[in-house]
């Protein structure tokens, strides 16, 4: 029982990480119908910003704030000046821009901060007694924090989409940009804002997830596996659904923790492969995901 609970807690922790990045992917997909492959690298860059500020003596909780603002600007500028100009010409060009952003941001991070792994400060203290004992299993404060922040982000986004005028406009653009434009929605602005918000959520998620994802340090390849898992989670839940991102992320996190725990012959390193299997399976069996309405028509 305690082993089961330990695995459940570990799975929930990584699940919450996937949910946060999957939410970013969903926000972009809803407005632009594309998967932003550079989503992880946005979060990587802003995580370096947080790390750098923390190294200068800024409290880590405060250091996240400028990182979120920078994230918002990066996302908004990327949509306005890189994605939108090529979108008019060619849909596949958007993919190329995503890949270019991916490598460009990764290179930029490496150029500024170097390629060595950085020990990352934790947002909560860790030590011998930073957990709650439940039937012999340890529920770490880290897990509680990331689940709480994930819940807060989901609640905030849900309220934003359902109760505000700009949220309504975003939902309208998500269902039909042309009809939304006829209602007077300035579709371009909505797209820019969606990308900005998405990268801002990523900037909040980065510092939370870096210490939790092996090797627990910040390096140039920190975000890539997370992006793959988050893509699998978003596809599983449905690329245009917030609820889908939550269910997909948690299901994937907990599912993989159980598989790795019980099916030992697969070995821990098989997780990434499992995630890719999930991606292919969803695309083949149910391309709209569990809760989605729209499928991935082009990447």
């Amino acid at each position: 029982m305690d082993i089961f609970l330990s695995r459940l807690f570990a799975g929930t922790t990584s699940g919450a990480v996937y949910v946060l990045i999957a939410l970013c992917l969903v926000m972009v997909f809803r407005s632009s119908s594309t998967i932003n492959f550079a989503q992880g690298e946005f979060a990587l860059f802003t995580s370096y910003v947080t790390w750098w500020l923390a190294g200068k003596g800024v409290n880590i909780w405060l250091a996240v704030v400028p990182a979120i603002l920078i994230g918002f600007l990066m996302g908004a500028l990327a949509e306005r000046w890189l994605v939108r100009p090529v979108r008019k010409r060619d849909e596949t060009a958007v993919l190329i821009v995503g890949l270019a952003l991916f490598t460009g941001l990764n290179g930029l991070s490496g150029w500024i901060w170097g390629s060595d792994e950085k020990p990352f400060p934790r947002m909560l203290p860790t030590g011998e007694d930073t957990y709650i004992d439940i039937a012999g299993a340890r529920l770490h404060y880290d897990t509680i924090l990331i689940v709480a922040i994930m819940a807060a982000v989901v609640a905030g986004l849900t309220l934003f989409f359902n109760k505000t005028s700009i949220g309504l406009q975003m939902r309208a653009v998500a269902t039909n940009p042309d009809s939304a434009a006829l209602c007077g929605v300035r579709v371009g602005r909505v797209l820019t804002l969606s990308w900005g918000m998405s990268a801002a959520v990523g900037a909040l998620a980065g510092p939370l997830l870096v210490p939790l994802v092996p090797p627990g340090q910040l390096g140039l390849s920190s975000m890539f596996p997370v992006l793959i898992f988050a893509t699998a989670a978003a596809l599983l839940g449905g690329l245009d659904s917030i609820k889908g991102a939550v269910v997909g992320g948690l299901a994937l996190g907990i599912g993989l923790a159980m598989v790795n725990g019980y099916v030992t012959f697969l070995g821990g390193s098989m997780s990434l492969t499992s995630a890719l299997v999930v991606i292919v399976a969803v695309l083949l069996v149910k391309p709209t995901g569990l809760f989605g309405a729209r499928r991935l028509e082009r990447v």
Partner: protein, 238 residues
């Protein structure tokens, strides 16, 4: 008195294809005008251009006699021109309520939006009963009611309607036209109707434009058109 909306020598099309060749039309305040034309004549293209949806390659739009610089849908809406597009202009993924709220995004007087929603629920009680239903699951007639109400939520001075009778039962069409006539009479909203159902449209219209492959072929009073035998034969079928 200048026209609510005047189009001077509009040229517009899709890519390399020019559909409108120097089309000029105008609608006076509170006037009801109908545009008739065969399939493919460019009626939808005309309304698309008038609503700011389709960029112009020539000519200009004037609202109250003043040229509109960058005609985009939000700009035209803010100037009082609203379109009910051909084939159910609703956001099918959103609820009836959300569709109506969305129709009002360009308005500054947010406080009165609720009052207007209530008014349209009184006009179309069937929408009121289905306020939380997703628009895509409404019947064709209900969707068309929603499309009209949504377009009216911006409180336009000119409502452009693209074949709102298409695919609807005669009774429903009759109801919709009665509502449109009331809107025109009570709110003073000018109407520009594109219709296949010329007979009904001619009943409430005072002026007619005949669009023939991208050009205005003829225009005149609705009365003269009703009496004209050749037009009767071509558009009314009797």
């Amino acid at each position: 008195m200048s026209a609510v909306l005047e189009a001077r020598d509009l040229v517009a099309g899709y890519g390399g294809l020019t559909v409108l060749r120097e089309v000029s039309v105008s609608v006076d305040p509170s006037e009801v005008v109908v545009v008739l034309g065969a399939n493919g004549a460019g009626k939808s293209t005309l309304l698309s251009a008038l609503s700011g949806q389709l960029p112009l390659t020539g000519g200009q739009l004037l609202v109250d006699g003043t040229p509109v610089r960058n005609a985009r849908p939000d700009v035209m809406l803010a100037k009082g021109v609203s379109l009910v597009p051909q084939g159910r202009g609703t956001l099918t993924g959103l609820s009836v309520m959300d569709n109506l709220r969305l129709g009002a995004v360009t308005r500054k007087d947010k406080a009165e939006v609720g009052t207007d929603i209530d008014r349209w629920f009184t006009v179309f009680p069937r929408l009121a009963e289905r306020r939380d239903q997703v628009a895509g699951t409404l019947s064709g007639g209900e969707q068309q009611m929603l499309a009209v109400a949504r377009a009216m939520m911006s409180r336009p001075r000119l409502l452009l309607c693209d074949e709102i009778s298409l695919g609807l039962a005669p009774v429903v069409v009759q109801e919709l036209f009665v509502t449109l006539a009331e809107v025109n009479r009570e709110l003073g909203t000018a109407l520009l109707l594109v219709e296949q159902n010329a007979e009904l449209a001619l009943e409430i219209a005072s002026r007619v434009y005949l669009l023939e492959v991208g050009e205005v072929g003829a225009s005149g009073s609705a009365e003269s058109f009703r009496d004209d035998n050749s037009i009767r034969a071509a558009y009314l079928g009797y």
